[in-house]
Amino acid sequence: MPQIFLDGQAFEARTEQTVLQVALEHGVFIPRLCWHPKLSVAGNCRICVVQVEGRSWVEIACNMPVSEGLRVLTDSPLVREHRKATMQFITLNHPVDCGICDKAGECTLQDYHVAFNGEASISREPKVQATKFHRLSERITLDNERCILCTRCVRFTREVSKSNALGVKNRGDHSLIRPAEGDDVRLLDDDAYSENIVDICPVGALLSTRLLYKERVWYLQATPSVCPGCARGCAIDVWHRKPEWKLRTLDARHNTAIVRVTPRDNPAVNGPWICNKGRDLALLLERPRADAALRKGRAVALDEALAAARELIGRARHPVALVSSWGSDEELAALDDALGDRFTCFVKDDHLPADGEVVEDDLLIRADKNPNGRTARARFGHQALQFAPDTDLVLVWGEGCDFGRLPRGVPVIFLNAFLAAENGHAEVFFPTSVHTERDGHFTNADGVRSAFSRCVDRPTGVVDAERVFRALASVPAGVAP
């Protein structure tokens, strides 16, 4: 374990580390633009320069191996001078159009400019102009003028997603991030992880087309959550409008809608990445919602629905429950506590791989398209659904149940978050919350338990499944209440 000194202070390092890695691990700040913890070292931006004590020049920390007794200055006058000059250079052809740039407010270049340079360009040359709205893929728009050619996006497609979709064409100030020609021009469309390059781009060059000019990030807040898209259960941040910036005009849905989803780095689950399906969480969760309890298709008060369900359960001798693999750990426990001993339970796949969806790969995406199948099966077993001939009540929780395959003439209690024809076919129906409307946990396929927090309030009329289960508890068998 070599010992190195950063600004005179001693730190233990591991032999394979670089000076930058040691610094970051111990909270010593060294700026970086091209370096990314999960990508190879490119060493092209030169913003990470440091000075080895006693030397009259600077070197890049991201590519400097540690060695015993190495003494490095991270903020000497020489380092500051070089950073400033580097910022001048990086922004030489940059349009500085922060006022209309979606990245403004969370842009590394903007932050570093303020921190290290803070001056207008000293160049008198006209700036080189380049493409402003290049459609890089169905999801991503590229602004070549803002690109600082750090090649993070290129390395991501080569080293992480392995689509090899991007490269740097031409050279010098004519360089452009581009896909290959011919059929390869579409490679990024087929890259299930492509939108990560929007996050790792340190500037506003790569932009989500869907969000283009839609929001300013300082109006948004992030809530820690878990993607329910598959059994990986990636840690995510779900972004909504801040309550203090509520819109009073326009459509009120703007105030509760998911604006964007970004990865929340969790080394035990997903690292700093998520797949594009996670970005499209709104497509999953913002489908038309059920917002009223129903009794044989007629809207009723929640209490009336609960009473009806209690009565059905009370009368049943051989009730069966189809358990949602989208239920949280807490909801599954509540069901088990309340009704586990009365019902024969089978775990149901609420979602199966959709047409054209990547079923499974060796990066993140899992074939099980449900977030909590593991906990559900640990509680309720792995047995395949089979109705005994004497089944006299079915409780269906969540999507993915073909009502045509339920035993004929047997009453159904149904809990579902979304509008569906089946809601009205059930004897009793409860409109339930989605996971962004409550706190809870999912346990992923590898057994990692992750918490999610409430992002928005439950819509009026919607109830948590956990509350329904508790209310249905302790109905004795064979006795009408």
């Binding site: 979709a165 064409k169 050279r171 020609e181």
Partner: protein, 166 residues
């Protein structure tokens, strides 16, 4: 596989032996260069053949091809005239020379004569400042050029059976 790549394959295979494993992308430059030496330019089908053989993504070939301006993606004339227009050559009359050659052959810079005989391009520094201006004919340097010398060269090469390059 393109016929040029097929004919170069024994040579490429020998070259590959000289690279350590996992360095296939280092083969892009020498392969593309040999193809251009034989064909005069690198065609799309050559890239496809190399992609297939080396397993290196197409984008990496395109990076190399677009980085080095010496690579050509389109057919050029039988004779390539390249005139430097950097500082030393310009001080010694390169602009006049370029204008004259283009006018005489009836082409714009970068253009090819309608008979497919000549292509005229310009370059930024061909490393011949001491003997500026320089005109490179195919890969041969002609130094201290002036209009008369250029005319004589072009006269000699104007017909497939005359002069060099015929």
């Amino acid at each position: 596989m393109s016929s040029i790549v097929a004919s170069l394959m024994p040579e490429f295979e020998r070259l590959r032996q000289r690279f350590p494993e996992g360095f296939d992308s280092s083969m892009t430059l020498p392969c593309l260069r040999r193809i251009q030496e034989l064909r005069g330019h690198v065609a799309d089908e050559d890239i496809s053949a190399l992609v297939q053989w080396l397993g290196v993504p197409r984008i990496q070939f395109e990076e190399v091809l677009s980085y080095y301006t010496q690579f050509r993606r389109r057919p050029v004339g039988q004779v390539r005239l390249e005139i430097c227009r950097n500082v030393s050559c310009s001080l010694r009359g390169a602009e006049r020379l370029i204008g004259h050659v283009c006018q005489r052959l009836g082409v714009a810079e970068g253009g090819t004569t309608s008979d497919g005989r000549f292509t005229v391009t310009t370059a930024e520094c061909l490393g011949s400042c001491g003997t500026a201006p320089v005109m490179v004919v195919d890969d041969e340097y002609h130094e201290n050029m002036d209009i008369e010398k250029a005319d004589r060269l072009i006269d000699a090469m104007s017909h497939a059976d005359g002069g060099r390059g015929g």
